[in-house]
């Protein structure tokens, strides 16, 4: 989860890989807004399936990678749905239609429908998010934000550098715990977080120093990786909106 996703050359040169991250981001948001207005479980499931299919075909994401990215999130979505099914308010409503009894639990049709709608929506969100992440190189996302959306450079590239430091911080936390143990103290303690914070701030300081020393933010800047709008943006953008419109009609 913490390590930045690595795109193969095939993924980067696929249709979704060449689409501007901004188009994909806008589509993902449009789909999520669309999902919020749908009450039925059917359309979100269709969108989830289409997102996964698009990731595998026009995104050329290896199925194994997608499965690994999705598995923990699908598990989380399932447990949310199950909790909503078992402890829904509708289950205690005597007027509700009883479907089954599992030990102490009474399960009603109303609760099952609500849980199903929720689960399908969470699944769709998870699928759209995973496909976006698996087809988008973090550097390219930031390049697009700066060049196409005019996000301030200092913020965008600073955030990118910070994001790339996260795996290193996870390693530091392990070492901090080990350092406590070897000095005779228990492994977990709130002070650990303080140590990690000190570490993160110092790393950020050093990185800012290195960036300043390389003339970052000193004036107008050119770009080594120009991003231009192209036909993949048009195709994916229109296609994605059409699919959403279709799903909303069902």
């Amino acid at each position: 989860m913490l390590t930045p996703i690595e795109l193969s050359d095939a993924q980067a040169s696929s249709l979704l890989g060449r689409t501007s991250p901004l188009v994909k981001l806008a589509l993902a948001i449009a789909w999520l807004v669309g999902l919020a207005v749908i009450g039925e479980p059917g359309p979100p499931l269709l969108l989830a399936a289409l997102a996964v299919a698009a990731g595998l075909s026009i995104g050329r994401v290896p199925p194994g990678n997608l499965a690994r990215g999705l598995a923990p999130l699908v598990l989380a979505a399932t447990s949310i749905a199950l909790a909503n099914l078992l402890w829904a308010g509708a289950n205690t409503d005597p007027a509700a239609t009883e479907l089954a009894r599992l030990g102490p639990f009474r399960i009603t049709r109303e609760a099952a429908e609500a849980a199903g709608a929720l689960a399908s929506r969470v699944l769709a969100i998870v699928a759209v998010g995973a496909v976006f992440a698996q087809t988008t190189d973090p550097t390219r996302l930031v390049d697009a934000l700066v060049q196409q959306a005019r996000v301030p450079e200092r913020f965008a590239y600073g955030a990118l550098a910070a994001y790339q430091a996260v795996p290193g911080l996870a390693e530091d936390l392990v070492t901090l715990r080990q350092a406590r143990r070897i000095r005779g103290l228990r492994g977990w303690h709130p002070r650990l977080l303080l140590g990690l914070l000190v570490r993160a701030i110092r790393h950020a300081d050093q990185l800012a120093l290195a960036m300043d020393a390389r003339a970052f933010g000193s004036g107008p800047r050119t770009t080594f990786r120009p991003i231009r709008w192209g036909w993949p943006d048009l195709v994916v953008g229109i296609g994605g909106l059409a699919v959403l419109a279709l799903a909303l009609r069902i």
Binding site: I182, R183, R202, Q206, A210, A213, R214, A215, T223, F224
Partner: protein, 470 residues
Amino acid sequence: MGPSGSGKSTLGKAVAGLVPRDVPGEWGGSLRVGGLEVASAEPAEVAARVGILFQDPASQLVMDRAADDVAFGLENRAWPLEAMRRRVPEALGAVGLGGFGRRRGTRLSGGEQQRLALAGVEAPSPAVLVLDEPTANLDPAGADAVFRRIAELRSARRTTIVLVEHRADLAWPLADMILALDERGSPIALEPPARMASRHGRRLAGEGIWLPADWTAPARPADGAPPGSAADGRPIVEVHHARFSYACGVEPAVRDVELEIGAGERVAIVGPNGSGKSTLLRLVGGLLRPSAGSIEVGGADPRRLPAPLLARLVGLVFQDPELGFLGETVAGEIGLGLDQARASAAGELLERLGMPLEAFGERSPYRLSGGEQRRLSVATALARRPRVLLLDEPTFGQDRRGWEALASILDELVEEGTAVLAATHDARFAARVAGRRIQMADGWVVADDGPGADDDPITGTHELLPAAGA
């Protein structure tokens, strides 16, 4: 040149225009680079003239991929795209990283990362290049590669180079002038190397500054140092077929290691970055669970010992001292968990390492120089008089005085029966302190001249661990 804590790095940062703007403090006097007063100049104007390479390679790589990182400084100076596309592969090739453009910085070795950072700094062809102990964190092969490039830049004579470096044997032959600082940061002399050695050699040595001859003289155990081998009795450390991987399906960091260390024995682990030295130390220290095999320290599995017992048995100095600090002040750090008697002994230890509590006690461990931080972390481990002392690169960035104090304190500990296991790139330290040398490569122990091994010297060791001055 200057002893640890003399302000070498601060001076280097000042030349690069980072003091006082990015490093807070009081500023007086004048420092001009290319006629430009750095303290009052625009950051962009200074950055256009000066590039600086820092000690830690990982904290200066900004972008994910190598080519993007080299291009970062060019983008900031608004180079046209075509010029960048020509310059980036050229700069990568110059540091021996041709064809590495698409590689990720985080996946490179420490030596490769430092050369990548150098490529990024020299790509815009700055008039002045500041190199702040650029090889302190590198293994001998990585350090050699960086120094080869520095020598090339020096011969090209297009760049003014300001080099902060303890390795006098490598730095002096490249220098036109040497500025020596004393421990208070005042200049001792500014001379060409030959005159510096003849006129000020003695003063420099007295200040704890390394001289080229210190590195080329053969290092051997000091006279009267204990032999450091206890053949009788049960070994204090027993490692049998130990193996360790950091994650499932990842190449093991340590493979099938067999190792026995007696009480009072001194062992150096040598080998390139990433060969498994630090992992082996952490396994012996009970901080990692071996994926196969067994490890016993003092007859017990160190993983199962409660922390207070483990701390009395084993001391470990991490490669990055900052990660080991738990106190808010130097005094708090050294006294942590110690009784009165031990705490005062710890104070004496710090004094011998050149950091008396009167001067350093109230300072924050994070505000010390690199060399001081390392000595503090060594002192915290030594203070407990553990039966096994594990050291991960204890001599990085040490001046001569700190180095010698450390070596003689280790001699005393060994005499009391402490076993010392030190991972080190410092061939002189290994020769001075260790009675036995273990060579690691790719997680294997490939050579061990300890008891039970052949009497013949290890073949190939000298190629892998070049003698100082090579």
